[in-house]
C-alpha cells in the first residue's frame, strides 16, 4: 500500500494544539467576516483535530489520492472549524483563511464546497451527509479499497428524516467502513433539541437501526482517539459515535447559549479577549 504523506500521530499535545488553533481561527475568521456559525464550529474542534491528526489517512499534497479516508461535514454550517483544520493539515495556504465570507466567490463560503481542496462534498442543507458517505463507502467496497468514510452530523440535524433513511440502508448494506459522529451539543438554531423535537434516547435509536454505538466526551482527546481506533465497533455494522459536546466551547460568553448558533464577536470584543485568549491580530498589516 502507498503510504500517505500525512502520518497519524498519537501525540496528544499535537492534537490539543490543533484543536486550540481551530478555536482561535474560528473566532478570528468569523470576527473578521462579521458572520459565521461560531457556536456550532467551536463544539467540533477536538473531533476534527483527532480525526485529521490522529485517525484519518490522507495526502494533502494529493487530495484525490484514491486510497484516502473521506470526511464529510454533514453539518456544513460548522465549516469554520473544518477550514482551519484543512489549512493546518496542509490542503491550502493558511492565508486563504482570511477570505472566509469576505471576497466574491470565495473558496471558503458559509457552507463548504468541493472547490476547496480537502472538501469531499457540498454540504449545507442538513440531512445529506450520511447518504453521501454511504455512496463513498459502497464505492470503496466495489474497488476493494480499505478507505473509511467519516461523517459528522449535528444533533439537531438528526430531526431530518433523510438521516434515518440512510442509517437504515447503511446498516442493511453492512457498511462497517462508514462512521457517523454526532456532534451532540444539545442546541439547535432555535432552542435545546429536547425542547424542539426530542432526540433522546439517541444511542438507542442508532442501536435499533443496526449500528455499533459509542457515547463519548467529544472534548476528550484521549477518549475520542481510542474510540476512533476501535472502529468498526461491531464487524459488519456501521459505527455511530455520539460525541457529547458544548456548543460554543472555549469562548466563555458563547458556551451553551442558543443565540450563539449564528453570532460572532464584534471587533471590539475580539480586542478585549485577545490577550486573555492569546488570539492573533485581527488584521495583519
Amino acid at each position: 500500500m502507498v503510504l500517505p504523506v500525512y502520518k497519524a500521530s498519537e501525540n496528544i499535545d499535537t492534537i490539543r494544539e490543533a484543536a486550540d488553533r481551530i478555536r482561535k481561527d474560528c473566532i478570528r475568521m468569523s470576527t473578521r467576516a462579521g458572520t459565521g456559525h461560531l457556536g456550532p464550529a467551536l463544539s467540533l474542534a477536538e473531533i476534527l483535530a483527532v480525526l485529521y491528526k490522529g485517525v484519518m489517512r490522507y495526502d494533502a499534497q494529493n487530495p484525490k489520492w484514491p486510497e484516502r479516508d473521506r470526511f464529510i461535514l454533514s453539518k456544513g454550517h460548522g465549516c469554520l472549524a473544518l477550514y482551519s483544520m484543512l489549512s493546518q493539515a496542509g490542503f491550502f495556504e493558511r492565508s486563504l483563511l482570511d477570505e472566509f465570507c469576505s471576497v466574491y466567490d470565495t473558496m471558503l463560503p458559509g457552507h463548504p464546497e468541493i472547490k476547496l481542496p480537502g472538501v469531499e462534498a457540498n454540504t449545507g442543507s442538513l440531512g445529506h451527509g450520511i447518504a453521501l458517505g454511504m455512496g463513498m463507502a459502497l464505492a470503496a467496497r466495489i474497488d476493494g479499497r480499505d478507505s473509511r468514510v467519516f461523517v459528522v452530523t449535528g444533533d439537531g440535524e438528526l430531526q431530518e428524516g433523510s438521516n434515518w433513511e440512510a442509517a437504515m440502508a447503511a446498516a442493511h448494506h453492512r457498511l462497517d467502513n462508514l462512521i457517523v459522529i454526532v456532534d451532540r451539543n444539545k442546541l439547535q438554531l432555535g432552542d435545546f433539541t429536547e425542547n424542539i423535537s426530542q432526540l433522546e434516547p439517541l444511542a438507542d435509536k442508532w442501536r435499533s437501526f443496526g449500528w455499533g454505538v459509542r457515547v463519548v466526551d467529544g472534548h476528550n482527546i484521549e477518549e475520542l482517539l481510542s474510540t476512533f481506533k476501535q472502529v468498526p465497533f461491531v464487524c459488519g455494522k456501521p459505527s455511530a459515535v455520539i460525541a457529547s459536546t458544548i456548543k460554543g466551547k472555549g469562548l466563555a460568553i458563547a458556551e451553551n447559549k442558543v443565540e450563539w448558533h449564528y453570532k460572532v464577536l464584534t471587533p471590539q470584543q475580539y480586542e478585549e479577549l485577545k490577550n486573555e485568549m492569546s488570539l492573533e491580530e485581527l488584521c495583519h498589516e
Binding site: P66, E113, I114, E120, A121, N122, T123, G124, S125, G127, H128, I130, A131, L132, G133, M134, G135, M136, A137, L138, A139, A140, I142, D143, V149, S162, E165, A166, M168, A169, H172, H173
Partner: protein, 313 residues
C-alpha cells in the same frame, strides 16, 4: 408507420446492460425500483444497490458514488425522483455537476390509472428549475435505446423521462441517429411548425397527416432534448414558418412549451405560438387514451386545434 411495438422502459434496460459490459464504472442505485434496470442487477450484482423506498437516500448515495468516480444510474417514478428528492438532486448532484443519470419513469399519461400521485406532468418543470442538468424525453423505444447510450457518453447530470411498461409503436425516429441537444425533423411542411417531445410525438405526426389531408402542411420536430434546447434549429425553422405549436405530455408551464416560448420571445418574437399540453391542472385516473382526449392531445384533437390556430391567427 412502423408496426413494431416496444416500451421505452424495456429499451432503456437493454441498453443499460450493454453499456454495463462496456463501462465497469456504471452502477445502479434503486429505491425499490430495481426492476427498471432489467437484467443489469442480475448481470452485475456487485454494481447494483437498493436502498429501499428512500428516494432522497438513493440520490445521496448516487452522489457519493459519483464523487468516487462511479457513473451511477438512479430511477424511480418521475414524481418521487424529482419532487421528493429534488433537494438532493440540486445540492448533491447539480451543484457539483456530478456524472449521475436520473431516470424518471411512468411520465406523462403512461401510468394514469395510478392517479395523480403517480402522473408525472410537472417533473420537467422541477428539473428545469435546477441549473446544470440535461433533460431528455425520448419519442419511442428505439430513441430511448440510443439516448441511453448517449447519456453515458455525456459527462454530467442528465434527467431522462421514460414511460411505463406499455408497448408503444416505433416511429420514423428509429432510422435517425440521436444526439443530445439536437432536434429531428420528422415531417416537412411550410404552414405550421409542430415541436413535440416524448409520448406526444406519435400523435403530433398523426395530426400532421390529418392536416395534410386538409391541405395544411406541417413541419414536425421531435425535440427529444428539452435542455440544452436546439435553438439553432428553432431559429432556422421559424425564419420561414410563423405558426408554432408545442406539444407535450406535461404541464405547459416549465416543460417543452415553456422552453420554446422563452427562447422565441427573446429571439424571434415575430411568430405566433400555441402551447399544447396540460394547462394548470393535475391529472386524474384514467387510461392513456382517456387522458389524451381529456387534455385535447389525441391526434384528432391536435389536428383540429392546430387547424383552428391557423385559421384564427
Amino acid at each position: 408507420m412502423n408496426e413494431q411495438k416496444k416500451s421505452t422502459r424495456s429499451s432503456f434496460a437493454e441498453a443499460l446492460v450493454e453499456m454495463g459490459y462496456k463501462n465497469k464504472n456504471i452502477v445502479t442505485v434503486a429505491a425499490d425500483s430495481a426492476s427498471r434496470y432489467g437484467d443489469f442487477v442480475k448481470k452485475f450484482p456487485e454494481r447494483s444497490f437498493n436502498v429501499g423506498i428512500a428516494e432522497q437516500t438513493m440520490i445521496g448515495v448516487a452522489a457519493g458514488l459519483a464523487l468516487s468516480g462511479k457513473i451511477p444510474v438512479v430511477t424511480s417514478y418521475a414524481n418521487f425522483l424529482t419532487f421528493r428528492a429534488i433537494e438532493q438532486v440540486r445540492v448533491d448532484i447539480a451543484t457539483s455537476g456530478l456524472n449521475v443519470k436520473l431516470i424518471g419513469t411512468d411520465t406523462g399519461f403512461s401510468s394514469a390509472w395510478l392517479g395523480f400521485t403517480h402522473l408525472a406532468l410537472e417533473d420537467m418543470a422541477a428539473v428545469r428549475a435546477v441549473p446544470n442538468i440535461a433533460i431528455i424525453d425520448p419519442a419511442d423505444a428505439a430513441e430511448a435505446y440510443k439516448a441511453t447510450e448517449a447519456i453515458f457518453k455525456y459527462e454530467g447530470p442528465v434527467y431522462m423521462r421514460l414511460r411505463g411498461r406499455k408497448e408503444e409503436p416505433l416511429l420514423p425516429v428509429a432510422e435517425k441517429s440521436f444526439e443530445i441537444g439536437k432536434g429531428q425533423i420528422l415531417a416537412e411542411g411550410g404552414d405550421v411548425l409542430i415541436v413535440a417531445c416524448g409520448g406526444a410525438v406519435y400523435d403530433s405526426l398523426k395530426a400532421a397527416e390529418i392536416l395534410q389531408s386538409k391541405g395544411m402542411h406541417a413541419t414536425v420536430v421531435n425535440m427529444a432534448t428539452i435542455r440544452p434546447l436546439d435553438e439553432e434549429l428553432l431559429m432556422k425553422l421559424t425564419s420561414s414558418i410563423k405558426h408554432i405549436v408545442t406539444v407535450e405530455h406535461h404541464n405547459i408551464t416549465g416543460g417543452l412549451g415553456s422552453a420554446v416560448a422563452e427562447f422565441l420571445a427573446e429571439n424571434n418574437p415575430d411568430v405566433r405560438l400555441m402551447r399544447l399540453g396540460v394547462k394548470n391542472r393535475f391529472g386524474t385516473a384514467g387510461s392513456e387514451d382517456m387522458l389524451k382526449k381529456e387534455f385535447g392531445l389525441d391526434s384528432e384533437s391536435l389536428g383540429s386545434r392546430v387547424e383552428r390556430f391557423l385559421k384564427d391567427y
